[in-house]
Symmetry: C2
Subunit: 475 residues, 2 copies
């Protein structure tokens, strides 16, 4: 192909690809991540040429990784001068990826990625941009797919790199590396070269430098296209399955106080494929991702749900716990439950408002006439007590060993623990249920039952009204 032909051919293909995946809408502002290498230099050049048609504003961002000494600095200079020649704003962040990686126990690859995307998002917010364009190409995609295959991934990995994911767009994802190199040459660009790309200690580099040539020579000259086509078919399948999982989640799970409650009878009606995916989905809802959870762990969790019994616990990596409770399984992060269960105790001001747990809840108290009781029993977060039978001071706190309670209507005290067991209150919730207590006994298990010892009856004159409200405010 002649120089101008390759330029317009790539530009047209990218234009169609942007339209196909609705990457850029007219009037939008786009951060373009540019390393100075061939891919991102070509990306910037292509987007620049399409800027009018797209009606988009471009802003360049570059991270100088501090990894290749003088070369790294020259990369930044190259990007800045390219952007300036094009009349675009350019933002550069200088950082020390190796130190960051060491500090956070990450590989340099991972650390670089985190720092880059953080910076791009920062510029995105600062300049009011709509999305971030990065320069992955078709060969990168094939390499990613192979990487997942070699590690034995599920469908999620086999779908490869997505054209659009959240605020990230990848306009070059359907262009081959060969075409990108030809494009750079035809455009008279002399992009920077990152020689660490040839370092065979990275698996991705070995895939690019050794495996793909080996496969195209011995098996399939169009291996990159075949892999990418496979990923297209699979990504539709994967999308459909994800949709089914979201429906299953709505039907059989609710998340309550950071604890996912899975309804077992509903779960059992699901196909095994959806069960596995639903468990992974629950974990990623609780944790933000399910990266540290492997196939084996999901199998353990499946077996536990099938065979475990009430009270038995399952510990998984990444602080994840599962606990059976009748026809439910509770799945949660231990740290979240630990925070919920931390001991707390506040003396209640009567009358007045008592703020509980950094303002997450408030307990209001006042003394009223018996005739002013309006909504007797209608509300689990309001209680009326015979003020003359209550031994002040009273407290709002969570349970302690030895707590005693005489549920209203019963004929004697029992251990609070026994009350919880009788009422089938799951163990994980027991430490976080707020209680109203005197120095002698529990007066009210908030949300559940009052004590018989302070109940309002015909002889009551003064009434203590307590109202418990969660604020949803958690700092």
């Amino acid at each position: 192909m002649q120089g101008n032909d390759i330029l317009s051919s790539v530009q047209n293909r990218v234009m169609l690809y942007i339209r196909k995946y609705k990457m850029i809408q007219p009037g939008q502002k786009i951060v373009v991540g540019v390393s100075g290498g061939p891919d991102s230099s070509a990306l910037l050049h292509v987007l620049m040429s399409l800027r009018g048609k797209l009606d988009a504003e471009l802003i360049v961002a570059h991270v100088e990784h501090g990894m290749r000494a003088q070369q790294s600095v020259e990369d930044a200079q190259y990007v800045v001068s390219m952007a300036q020649r094009m009349g675009l704003s350019v933002y550069v962040k200088h950082c020390d990826v190796p130190s960051y990686a060491k500090e956070h126990g990450l590989s340099q690859e991972q650390a670089g990625r985190i720092i880059r995307y953080d910076f791009f998002r920062q510029i995105c917010r600062y300049r009011g941009c709509n999305s971030i364009a990065v320069a992955h190409n078709k060969d990168d995609n094939a390499e990613t797919i192979l990487l997942h295959i070699l590690r034995g991934s599920g469908l999620d990995g086999l779908v490869g790199i997505r054209p659009v994911r959240g605020d990230i767009i990848r306009p070059l994802l359907d262009v081959s590396r060969t075409d990108i190199e030809a494009y750079c040459a035809a455009a008279g660009m002399n992009p920077r070269r990152d020689y660490t790309n040839n370092d065979p200690s990275y698996m991705r580099n070995r895939i690019r430098l050794k495996l793909i040539p080996f496969l195209s020579q011995n098996f399939n000259p169009n291996i990159v296209d075949s892999l990418v086509r496979m990923s297209h078919i699979l990504s539709d399948d994967n999308e459909f399955l994800s949709m089914c999982v979201e429906e299953a989640f709505k039907r059989s799970v609710h998340i309550d106080d950071d604890i996912a409650v899975l309804h077992i009878p509903d779960f059992k009606t699901l196909h095994k494929a959806l069960q596995r995916r639903l468990l992974r989905y629950i974990i990623s809802k609780l944790k933000g991702d399910a990266d540290s959870i492997e196939y084996l762990h999901i199998e353990q969790l499946m077996a536990y749900i099938e065979q475990g019994c009430v009270g038995q616990k399952l510990t998984l990596p990444a602080d994840i716990m599962a606990e059976h409770g009748n026809d439910k399984v509770y799945i949660y992060l231990q740290c979240a439950v630990r925070i919920m269960s931390e001991p707390f105790c506040y003396t209640i001001s009567v009358p007045g408002d008592t703020y509980v747990k950094n303002g997450q809840a408030v307990l209001s108290s006042c003394i009223i006439d018996k005739s002013d009781i309006t909504d007797y029993n209608s509300n689990v977060s309001v209680a009326y007590m015979d003020a003359d039978k209550v031994h002040f001071p009273i407290y709002i706190r969570n349970r302690r060993p030895g707590d005693r309670f005489m549920p209203i209507g019963s004929n004697g005290h029992k251990k609070l623990k026994e009350y919880f067991i009788d009422e089938k209150i799951p163990r994980i919730y027991r430490d976080s249920i707020p209680l109203i207590a005197s120095d002698h006994e529990i007066l009210w298990v908030i949300g559940h039952r009052l004590s018989d010892t302070c109940k309002v009856n015909e002889s009551t004159r003064r009434v203590l009204r307590l109202t418990y409200k969660t604020t949803g405010y958690n700092e």
Copy 2:
């Protein structure tokens, strides 16, 4: 591992695997396909050792391929003597795979597979067996998965070899080739070696001999396990998707006279992943398989369903056609429609029965009194005509150019073709609709309308009753 350890270890694992996939039930008879190589020799030995526990009867079958001259004959002798030593019946088929392959335009690999499975099934029926055990192992599975990846397959290919498929069971599918070799050695067997397995002109052999060693050396020493684990996860996903497709098929497709009628509004409610799979499923229902249909063809069909218009046709490979008709798309094999549309014409005996198309249908006629008409108009396959207005002889036939028809209630003749268009009868059906005709005109479009020219009215005396019945018998 010591000799006895490897024997019992493999036997135990195979036993669990057979149970897990419910491969063999007590009292069943199993055909074991034995080539004489290490895999199938080990399979026979393992099944023999488990025969008591399984309570199964074993029958050995061997195909002598006529491909490796004297060696091939010795393979057969080896299998026969092994079976006889074990006291088992053994059936051997001698054949000439290369000639068969040439004759049917197949590769020798394909031809061998067809001949083998045909023979195994023949023995299976002859001896009243329940299933056929074949000796694929874990490495074969990994190789198959890679084969599909290299060709750019969809999920269907990535699931690899199934432990059970129809009447085929694969008890060794979870045992590695290394373990099988060790098993043979420990059992004192000296199985036959097929040196064509080292021929690098077969892609599968290149995968085994070059690619897997390359991958385990450079990327993942447990590549076989990783691939197989991946296929397990994917096969659950695939099974679930297949289930969804079967449901979608029931909802939005019916097959009528070898023509699949796809209801477009229903089709459009489906996720793209299901749409693709449904189309492939329809084709395999019509054709027996969808092997010759590639990704690209399904995409063409998707676009045609989305954008095509009434009357326009789409031709796909393997004789498959699609044709729009209002809110439906007809998908069919051209050959099937061609057979349905072949010209036919039979003179009707009055009174009497006229057999149509090799007995696929029968037309009964008789003359009755007008007062004997019982079910006027209630049945589309019965017609009453004024016998005195009919010009005999009359025929049952399909349409011919120039046919004329005056539908009952209309005020003049029109071309039959126009009638079909007005009634929105899809083109593909028009050639196969049976007609009753005199030498002058069409008297009855069976299943649709009568002619006005011979309708029964107050002046009618003698009535011709015609009854059309399909027999469902198609030779």
